[in-house]
Amino acid sequence: MAGSLTEADVWDALRGVTDPEYPLSIVDLGMVYDVRVAEGAVAVDMTFTSIGCPAIEMLVYDVREAVNALPDVRDIRVEVVWSPPWTKDRITDRGRRVLTAYGVAC
């Protein structure tokens, strides 16, 4: 049972966690820095677009829920990291297309 979960599964789950205002994922925003899986224990390193981001609490909760919904998850730890700092260069091409469609310069 434990061991069948892969890092790719977790990345896929995180693609379902969306920015609170725009329909693009935290992965496309470049907010997820690292994912590690060891025998069902998941660790996610993520950052936020600013230290005063009002969505920290909510998105950490959403990340935990999304990962916990995967089969074979024994433990989930979300580490909020601030180094290296997030910049808009981290947004993926897909993310840029979504934001542009909503009139957001990026």
Partner: protein, 314 residues
């Protein structure tokens, strides 16, 4: 104020052009009737956003940790910005923004009665985000989609996106509190018990009692009060049922719509925060209650106006 039952030739001409897709861009395009209806709509919109700020701000002090307090203060900041958008457009129509915010008496603001109530704990704060902001999105996305007034249509793009965050904040926390169970879930249920009927009433007079709506005639909005109330219930009832929270409404299979399970409208005991389902009211009586304003009206307005007077005194 008595609006003419039959619009004159100029009014009818504008109504016809709007029906054919004409967008009003400036005062020159407007008739007196259109301008009056738009000013009323924008005043209600701006006042609703403005009065949510003191209510949410006081409740932000009950946040369980620093990040959730930041979330609520950011929401307060958004709401003040949304109020400014409505008031800024009103300025272009010759209404004095300074007077709107600082010159009016508390009872002269036109926000819904729900924002005259105290939000006294974290459960009430997040249900306000889940219910009141959902009502706001329901009303404003209809305006965004249908309004014949170009400047407002463009301004609402930003407002709509930000309201989504408020709503998601509320719904996410409602799920968490329900999941926690015990006393936490009971507090959530108590908040829902007074805030659900409060929001239903917010959508106003049922369609069968509404004689004439300038807002619909001039296409300042697209959907009727009952349609909007149904849309709100369409999201809110399943949300609550899904987390094991009881609401006094259900899906009526036969009628193909949501049905309200109590005499609507009815009396509200604002001190006890309790709806008196055994005391039905007429809508005229509801309007009297609204006009008398609720328990926090004066305090909220004083929070907004007092700071400015204090600043002037220095």
């Amino acid at each position: 104020m008595t609006a003419p039952q039959q619009p004159d030739a100029a009014e009818q001409d504008l109504i016809d052009r709007i029906a054919a897709g004409f967008m009003v861009e400036s005062e020159e395009d407007m008739t007196p009737g259109y301008k009056r209806a738009l000013i009323t709509q924008l005043t209600v919109q701006g006042d609703t956003e403005l009065m949510s700020a003191p209510a949410y701000y006081l409740a932000s002090r009950d946040a369980p940790n620093i990040n959730s307090r930041i979330a609520v203060t950011a929401i307060v900041h958004d709401e003040l910005g949304h109020a400014n958008i409505a008031y800024r457009i009103l300025e272009d129509l010759g209404v004095n923004k300074h007077w709107l915010i600082y010159g009016r008496q508390p009872h002269e603001f036109k926000h819904p009665y729900g924002f005259d109530q105290a939000l006294e704990n974290w459960a009430e704060m997040v249900v306000a985000n889940g219910f009141f902001d959902r009502a706001g999105i329901t009303l404003l996305s209809d305006v965004h989609q249908h309004t014949s007034f170009g400047p407002l249509k463009r301004a609402l793009v930003k407002v709509d996106r930000e309201e989504v965050l408020h709503l998601r904040h509320g719904e996410s926390w409602m799920k968490r509190l329900a999941k926690a169970g015990g006393e936490v879930k009971e507090a959530l249920q108590r908040a829902v018990d007074w805030m659900f009927p409060m929001t239903l009433e917010w959508f106003g007079l049922p369609d069968h009692l509404k004689r004439h709506s300038g807002q619909l005639v001039y296409r300042l909005k697209g959907k009727t009060n009952d349609e909007l109330r149904q849309i709100w219930m369409g999201s809110t009832v399943p949300l609550c049922e899904g987390i094991g929270i009881k609401v006094p409404a259900h899906w009526d299979e036969e009628a193909g719509e949501y049905a309200i399970d109590y005499p609507f409208p009815c009396q509200y005991d604002a001190q006890a925060k309790r709806w008196l389902f055994d005391e039905p009211l007429t809508w005229d009586q509801v309007f009297e209650r609204w006009k008398a304003r609720g328990p926090m009206n004066e305090r909220y307005v004083e929070m907004l106006q007092g700071a400015f007077r204090g600043w002037l005194a220095h």
